[in-house]
Symmetry: C2
Subunit: 251 residues, 2 copies
Amino acid sequence: MNSAVASDLPRYPASVTVDLVIFTLREDDLHVLLIERGNEPYRGASALPGGYVRPRESLDGAALRELREETGLDGRALHLEQLGAYGDPGRDPRGRVITVAYLALGPDLPVPVAGTDAADAVWVPVRRALGPGFGLAFDHGAILADAVEKARERLEYTTVAVSFCREPFAISDLRRVYEVIWGIALDPSNFRRKVLKTAGFVEPTGERRAAEAGRPAALYRFGGARDLYPPLLRSGEVAGRTREAVPVGGA
Amino acid sequence: MNSAVASDLPRYPASVTVDLVIFTLREDDLHVLLIERGNEPYRGASALPGGYVRPRESLDGAALRELREETGLDGRALHLEQLGAYGDPGRDPRGRVITVAYLALGPDLPVPVAGTDAADAVWVPVRRALGPGFGLAFDHGAILADAVEKARERLEYTTVAVSFCREPFAISDLRRVYEVIWGIALDPSNFRRKVLKTAGFVEPTGERRAAEAGRPAALYRFGGARDLYPPLLRSGEVAGRTREAVPVGGA
DNA sequence: ACTTTTTCTAGTCTTCTTGACCATAATGGC
DNA sequence: GCCATTATGGTCAAGAAGACTAGAAAAAGT
């Protein structure tokens, strides 16, 4: 507040929205939920789901509501965190709109729920959404790119990777999360050692899963720890059978 | 955007402000720049400097402008990054105000510049600002607490600590930054080894500084690297001569 | 002048973590 | 039964970090 100014609100009125970057893993690929815009501007283009923050609503509350409306899912079942605010003056041709972006992570979600706003919501591989020729509306390309980087970083220092796994899960399921999002291959044995040694990351259920191929895997559930210490750093990781990385920096 | 709605802007008009958490080190203590509010609400209380985002201004631009107005400093000389958006419905009694908080880090700054908005800006030890009996206006206590945690985290994974040092600086100056912000003591020898081994953290100037006491220290400048790999993790650090930690979680 | 104090600098040693491997187990398919 | 495939368990060496010892270089005190 400028303490020398005595004016009252609102000044420079603007609209505030929340936009959701909802990630999930489908077919060993990172997907993001996008909707097709039915109105101008950017009619026909894809965009992140989102909407206006209502008068008596908190930002987090608006994000939870939109998440429920778009995916039909209870936000408490997913990982949801704020990504940041985006407010460049020209980002919305209709006027001044500041958006607060949220990052949501969840297991392979039941296809977008019909009967909601998300009737025309679709899962799109992030690789494709950020690729050339896929023009996301507004500055959603930049938001998505930031979200990918944020997700990659969160995997290093927290246990959010389990948010992508439906319980019970195998260590290899968890490993695949890291491999897909980081775009590199991890050594199964070393990854396993790290996960099991980290207190509170996972805990065994006792069950094992019939495999499509190979030895059956022991199953685990989330262990309750939020932070990962020491962190699980990407970096000097396997160079060998590198998976193609999800391109970043687009839009 | 809710694709099923055809309305035009603005909907649910709100005001958008930026608030700055400007940290610096003074007398071996983490200080934050606060202003005394001259108007209602919270007249007379301390608050983070900030102000309205203007119609044609980006959020980052508004933060830079406020920084210049409040400290008289060129924002490009400081580290400045977005902290996040705060928008609880009741946070400002005057109406709906969403604020985007920024974190600014700089070396012991020349006392708040007079002749600007910041005429009554003062440096306050964070410990005190977060302590009991020091009621910050609005939700600025929570924002400040988040900023402290963010700063602590940034020190682990990035080289921003140098933002607190005026060049040229000694390794021990850098160490003091970590010690003050983390609130723990670090082993001088091990810290030195870590800093010098990390490529791009610092580079020697060749000079050395006359000491008030003890052996003169070699001087360094920033090495250009932004990220710290491997990170410099707080955690199992020295328990012995622990400095009192800056309390967090207040307000 | 000499000692003490202080801080910077250098090095050792042990422990922990990681990455690179290798070997074996347990399953389905042929 | 043999092979492909995945899971699991272990070894080994390199690197990083914490604990510590000690020397170097200055100011301050006696």
